[in-house]
Symmetry: C2
Subunit: 332 residues, 2 copies
């Protein structure tokens, strides 16, 4: 037990359209205070944390769209005026944070981004690669839930790049800095991103998400339960098969009275077991003490990649995006 | 409901070392009779079905080792004298079978193989790619459970090759033949094989397995429960994320009084839900009627590969087998 540290999923509840940044940040900072009180060293926040989940809405007003994006300077998100109060607080409390937000680059490109920030410095940055949804709304009516991430964001261009978190080195044994990776929401259902991180020896995956239910074919309760099942089964399977801890955090609640966003914030160990999970649909800190050496069983034995993987048979994964079906045999 | 058919996982219980082929085949044929009585058109049998799971033993007697392999002729396993009685029965009952066995080629190469046989013809063949275990025993004592697949088998050389099953075309709507894929046991934990099949539009995955528990660090009951958890979580997650039905079948029971092999035979739908599963640790037929059109939600919407996948970021999956960790940053 020499590589232990305390981590948290900092779940955030309902955030309606039009909620000011300052009101959201006050809630995030309250979660940071709770984290500090529990000696947490890393807190993972959700996707697009500083506002409502605007890709649910078809918005034509460019000023409103712009208002959902942080104008991130080259020096990193912690220096961005609109959200600096959050990163200053984390720095003051000596807590590393991984947090998702809408990023607008100095050139005006917009991404669905998560940054890992330690003492005000960006240590790792990820731009969401698997953008779900559509480029066009299925409805322009107010109050209708669209999924328009492909309209609002460009696909990420930073790959799946793991990084060391030196700030955590001293608190977990001092031998080596933990290896961290980030994904966002829909990415967690795609094995490829997980595996690219696994191939970098990732020990802690940080995944914020924000996931509406799809109640078209079932009741709201059934749809909620089904979405939660899918969330958990993919998170647990991919953490296990890549022998990594996972901290995954929801933006949940019933924003604007629309379909609910699921909760399900949890900390999963490298055997795929849930070691801590949320109890509410509100702002809530889910805390666990984790021992990074628990990754070794998977990394060195069960899933020792170098011994067992056979990349010569994986070609189609990297060669093409879509499906090529086998041909129908001739009639006999 | 135009593409429906009845399928089965044909679970096989305890088979001790030294059990004659004829005794095993009598049990398999009894399962085929049950399948016919329930109008099953495809039955999936376990891994190395015709004998005990010999890779648990360190065997030096070459005659005994040889006895565990079917000497498969070029015309296919259904023409192999040692097991012909099984395939003849399946043909007589008009049931397609997917079944695992130790294959010895005419050149003497040995594989852990599964063949999909329809009316005596091999329609698809798979040789296990992710061989678990070691080349050397950790113990040469009798009664000790090793995992020596790397010693007994060569890694498969046929890739992950999906195929059409024309025999099922007429029973499920007559439009197109179902697309089928095969994996064996440990493969089901590796996302890569699943994805290569997913990229061929697979609709029915057939996976036999045979999975001992690892009771070193827990009680037998805990180890059994943990192995079952891992089995289910990977099967459900990978079926869901590749939008395919899964028929997965155990060789279970307590062979030779050693550690138990888990059961867990089940049929999983393309949303990852278990639609039928075993109730015993014995020979048992697990049956479900499945509607192949249920794959369309996943294939065309949730996981529409061509719309959402980003192969330009997946390179390391195909470029290397093992881990390359990020460098430790210089001390600050």
């Amino acid at each position: 037990m020499v590589r232990t540290l305390r981590v948290a999923a900092a779940q955030v509840g309902r955030v309606d359209r039009g909620t000011p940044r300052a009101a959201v940040i006050a809630r995030l900072n309250a979660l940071l205070d709770q984290a500090a009180a529990q000696r947490v060293k890393l807190a993972v926040f959700p996707e697009t944390t500083f506002s409502t989940f605007f890709p649910r809405y078809w918005i034509e007003d460019q000023a409103e769209i712009s208002s959902y994006f942080e104008k991130e300077p080259a020096s990193g998100i912690a220096e961005c005026d609109s959200v600096k109060a959050f990163f200053d607080k984390a720095k003051a409390l000596d807590i590393d944070v991984a947090i998702g937000y809408g990023e607008e680059t100095p050139e005006g490109t917009r991404y669905n981004t998560a940054s890992y920030v330690s003492s005000g410095k960006t240590v790792g940055k990820y731009r969401k690669i698997h953008l779900p949804g559509t480029f066009e709304p299925f409805s322009k009516e107010e109050g209708v839930t669209n999924q328009l991430e492909k309209y609002y964001f460009k696909p990420g261009d930073l790959g799946f790049t793991a990084f060391r978190a030196p700030s955590l080195k001293k608190v977990c044994g001092g031998k080596k800095s933990p290896i961290v990776g980030q994904l966002i929401c829909n990415d967690r259902r795609w094995a490829e991103g997980w595996r690219v991180y696994g191939l970098q020896g990732v020990e802690i995956m940080c995944i914020g998400y924000l996931w509406g239910i799809d109640p078209d074919s079932m009741t709201r309760e059934e749809a909620y339960k089904d979405a939660m099942f899918h969330h958990k089964v993919v998170c647990q399977a991919h953490a296990y098969t890549n022998a990594t801890f996972l901290i995954t955090t929801a933006r949940c609640g019933v924003d604007d009275g629309l379909h609910p966003l699921i909760s399900g914030s949890m900390i999963v160990d490298p055997e795929g077991h849930i070691v801590a999970e949320n109890k509410t649909e509100e702002d809530e800190l889910v805390v666990a003490e984790i021992d990074l050496d628990a990754c070794q069983q998977g990394k060195n034995k069960t899933f020792a990649f170098a011994k067992h993987r056979r990349p010569e048979h994986y070609g189609p994964i990297c060669e093409r995006a879509g499906v090529v079906e086998p041909e129908e045999p001739a009639e006999q």
